[in-house]
């Protein structure tokens, strides 16, 4: 009988964690067929160590074309940690001898990622007014990471991202005049190549940020990291879809653009608000197209989940947000 994931993890941990006597509380958290997240504790005489495994099981090595790949993610997280960016500590990068597939093991960071809790629970009341400024500072540090030390990543421009979005939208073969309006606006308002090319996190928003009562504790999920216009990250976190009802607080439903920008500029970096606005429009459309993609995956299987189907019906949310951005009926 082949070894279970738990047995393989215990064997793996023993090779690099001195004193470890085994593992406990292993539980699979989430993910689809191609990528898994596990939580487990390393049993150690000095006290258990909470850890997270992120891996692509054997046979699922190839990342989809947009993904940086788990190897690159591990390096990015290590670099972020070394630069003082709130980040889990990468403890081990999987090797073939581990027989666990590709991926890495990192320290587990306590905190919350569920937006509604972060935006409503009393526990986070003191953190909320500080978050936008803090996150501006975190983004500035991410954008300041030196390119030569980073892994190879895709190089994206506004024009190439418009092209990909348009291709994805056309492949859905379902007319959505508001999406065409947004694509046309993006083409007409493309600010051109960024004067500066930096590391872009690519998915800096609720869900990928661990928040504690003291503020941001860790940046997760570098899967969509690439090189490009740093203003993209600032625009993406302002997309209305991540405000969870708090629509007058553009940054994640907890803060203002001014606070985000002030935190960014306090780290000796400049914000270009017009570019940020451009990327907010792009991000809104991107989430809309992604919702439609969920619906397509629901139809084509193998995951005919009701949740996927219902996410398809959320694309109209991005249509009203695009109209509020591009054809406002009143001052917002």
């Amino acid at each position: 009988m082949p070894a279970t994931t738990e047995e393989l993890l215990a064997r793996c941990v023993a090779t690099w964690c001195a004193g470890a006597t085994g593992i406990a509380n292993a539980a699979r958290l989430s993910g689809g067929a191609s990528q898994e997240t596990w939580s487990f504790d390393i049993v150690h005489p000095d006290g258990n160590i909470g850890t997270i495994l992120r891996r692509a099981p054997i046979g699922y090595g190839a990342a989809p074309d947009r993904a940086a790949g788990l190897g690159a993610e591990a390096v990015l997280m290590q670099q972020a940690y070394a630069a003082g960016i709130p980040s889990p500590r990468v403890m081990h990068v999987l090797s073939p001898a581990d027989e666990l597939g590709t991926g890495f093991i990192m320290g587990r960071v306590d905190g919350e990622t569920i937006p509604r809790k972060i935006l409503r629970d009393e526990k986070f009341a003191a953190a909320r007014p500080k978050l936008a400024r803090q996150l501006g500072g975190v983004l500035a540090k991410i954008h300041a990471l030196g390119l030569p030390q980073l892994p190879e990543l895709r190089r994206m421009t506004a024009a190439s991202e418009i092209g990909e979005l348009e291709r994805d939208y056309r492949s859905l073969n379902w007319p959505r005049p508001v999406f065409d309006l947004a694509l046309r606006w993006l083409r007409d308002n493309d600010p051109g190549p960024s004067p500066e090319v930096t590391l872009v996190h690519g998915d800096f928003r609720h869900g990928n940020l661990i928040i504690g009562p003291d503020g941001v504790r860790a940046v997760l999920d570098w899967e969509l990291a690439h090189f490009g216009d740093p203003m993209e990250d600032l625009g993406w976190i302002c997309v209305n879809s991540w405000r969870f009802g708090e629509i007058d607080k553009p940054v994640g439903g907890f803060g203002s653009r001014e606070e985000l920008f002030a935190g960014y500029e306090a780290e000796a970096r400049r914000v270009d608000p017009a570019r940020v606005h451009f990327w907010e429009v792009m991000g809104t459309l991107r989430w809309g197209v992604m919702c439609c993609g969920m619906m397509q995956r629901f139809r084509s299987g193998p995951d005919h989940s009701m949740e996927r189907a219902m996410i398809g019906r959320r694309s109209s949310e991005t249509e009203i947000d695009l109209l509020r951005l591009l054809a406002p009926r009143h001052k917002q």
Partner: protein, 126 residues
């Protein structure tokens, strides 16, 4: 002619049963999925109630904007193409109003609690 109760009434009855009788008995991930399921049934009930009226009005607006009649799908395709090519845009008379009305009608079915939608409804009233 099919008999009563109507599909809307049946779906509402099932959603009510799931909401009132089953929800208290379920916990964990299945409770989340049950909520999604109830939302789906509510959405279908809203669509069955609202779709005919909004589709007819949308088709009329599109026919006027494009100067031709066709199926709702083909008219939407034609508008999307014209916008993409820049032949029609927000400056074209009636286009912004049409896109707004169509989008509001979609949200009324898909997500009537979405904050942007509720805000736009309020603004329209005032």
């Amino acid at each position: 002619m099919q008999d009563e109760p109507t599909p809307t009434e049946l779906i509402q009855a099932v959603a009510g049963f799931l909401r009132n009788d089953i929800t208290p008995a379920i916990s964990g991930h299945n409770a989340f999925k049950l909520r999604v399921a109830i939302n789906a049934l509510d959405l279908v009930a809203r669509q069955l109630t609202l779709e005919q009226g909004s589709d007819a009005a949308e088709r009329e607006r599109l026919a006027r904007l494009l100067g031709k009649d066709a199926s709702l799908h083909d008219l939407n395709r034609a508008l999307a193409d014209a916008i993409s090519k820049g032949v029609i845009g927000l400056k074209t008379e009636g286009v912004a109003e049409h896109l707004w009305q169509t989008t509001m009608d979609k949200l009324a079915v898909d997500q009537p609690n979405y904050a942007s939608y509720r805000r736009e409804l309020e603004v329209k009233k005032n």
